[in-house]
């Protein structure tokens, strides 16, 4: 595996860091039998919307969300 490939993998993992952290919190709460909160849900939704907006911009050059 060359340096460029390693760099790509590191970059990918770094981009996933916020999701990994939230998944870790989710896993810890599940194991402890704690309930997840509305705040947890809002954080996850916000992270997803942010990622989708960035991806939509990359794919189409538009930041507009889905048309309803």
């Amino acid at each position: 595996m060359n340096a460029a490939t390693v760099a790509v993998i590191v970059q990918s993992v770094a981009a996933l860091a916020p999701y990994l952290a939230q998944l870790g919190v989710l896993a810890a709460k599940a194991k402890a039998g704690e309930a997840v909160t509305e705040s947890d849900l809002r954080l996850a939704e916000e992270a997803r919307r942010h990622a989708f907006a960035a991806l939509r911009e990359s794919v189409t050059g538009s930041v507009t969300g889905p048309a309803f």
Binding site: A4, T5, V8, I9, Q11, S12, V13, A15, L16, Y19, L20, Q22, L23, G24, L26, A27, K29, A30, A35, V36, E38, D40, L41, A44, E45, A47, R48, R49, H50, A51, F52, A54, L55, R56, S58, V59, T60, G61, G65, P66, A67, F68
Partner: protein
């Protein structure tokens, strides 16, 4: 080479997301209860999986593994739009006290996310930038 790196990026993201999602999944017995808390956990996990997939695909696009404007890119966009609608709908239904509707919306989002998998596995070099042949 760029295609290879892009695919690695997507695969790494996808694998990590799935592995972590599986590790934090609620035991099946707890999910069967249909309680709001368990449904919320499932919805959070679906949101995080969708977000991490979007990050992985975004990396692939930056590396030109997926060409903006191509059929494949459009298909990804359409699929992601469907996932977003379902996840937003699930959140609204859950907050409105409609767990059955939320469950259906989450299931729809999970199915749409599964639909992205073949796009990640497309052989390198098959990307097209034009219209349908």
């Amino acid at each position: 080479m760029m295609l290879c790196k892009g695919r690695i990026s997507v695969i790494v993201s996808f694998s990590l997301a799935l592995a972590l999602l599986a590790s934090c999944a609620m035991p099946a017995g707890q999910q069967e209860g249909g309680e709001g808390v368990d449904l919320r956990t499932r919805l959070i996990a679906a949101n995080l999986l969708a977000g991490s997939l979007a990050e992985g695909l975004n990396s692939a696009i930056r590396l030109n593994a997926v060409v903006p404007g191509s059929q494949r890119a459009q298909l990804i966009k359409e699929t992601l739009d469907a996932v977003e609608r379902s996840l937003d709908g699930a959140g609204m239904a859950l907050r409105a006290g409609l767990p059955q509707m939320a469950t259906r919306q989450i299931s729809a989002a999970e199915l749409q996310l599964d639909g992205l998998e073949p796009l990640l596995q497309s052989p390198a070099g098959t990307e097209t930038t034009g219209d349908a042949p």
